[in-house]
Symmetry: C2
Subunit: 119 residues, 2 copies
DNA sequence: CTGATACTGAAGCATTCGCTTCAGTATTGA
DNA sequence: TCAATACTGAAGCGAATGCTTCAGTATCAG
């Protein structure tokens, strides 16, 4: 196992940036659904939902397969994980920095912290 | 402590959806920076970077304050946390569901799993 | 005071986005 | 076979995005 997925993060966050698509993800987190089922809660055309679905699939967040005339969609945990991890890593970096700064200031507090970079 | 922040998630993911802005966040995760410092790596006008910064601030991901003629920007960990958590929660939901399904199938495997909703 | 620095704002412009409608194409149930 | 179902695709359209340039406004260094 080692799949050739790896959609750019741009597409993942782009996909999550829309309220409708986030609600679709929310729905899919509770289990697979057909396109019509996915569309049901929304006051928009099936076509529009189909377009949102395409965005979600392009991002790798959702996978789908067609059986007969019904397309069944399911969430792809791996793409979720990558997005989560990107944020997590930057936050960790920043918070760790704040911690180190805190310790530093505890030891000696006659300092400025304007640019954060040491020339 | 209990701030009246709470920017809608839409704006956070929207902000993260752009490569330039993600690189700005990346930069800020390594420490505070001025607008010009933030703009330095990019082949675009300072004005454009200023506009990106405005998006990041509106999302709550970045906070900034002006001292003299220099605006210093820093990351806001809390907004990062909320975005991360949204993804995390949906993923957890979905993966837990997969686990339960796995156990169920281990016990009895004469079943279909097409729609995932029991009518 | 004077010129450089560091933004800041407004206008414009091409592209993308989120829809719509309308017209298809497969499937399926009766 | 025949109509209903479940999408699917193309065209169009108004609004939002991501820039640009140009013209400011403070602030600071000499």
């Amino acid at each position: 196992m080692l799949q050739y997925q790896e959609t750019p993060l741009d597409l993942v966050f782009q996909a999550l940036a829309d309220q409708t698509r986030r609600e679709m993800v929310e729905r899919l987190s509770r289990g697979p659904a057909s396109v019509s089922e996915l569309a049901a809660p929304f006051a928009m055309s099936l076509s529009a939902v189909g377009q949102h679905l395409k965005v979600l699939e392009a991002s790798g967040l959702v996978r789908s397969e067609k059986h007969g005339r019904v397309r069944t969609c399911r969430l792809e945990a791996e793409a979720m994980r990558r997005a989560q991890q990107w944020i997590s890593l930057r936050r960790a970096n920043w918070e760790q920095r704040l911690d180190r700064l805190g310790e530093y200031l505890d030891a000696d507090d006659s300092n400025e912290t304007t640019t954060g970079s040491q020339p």
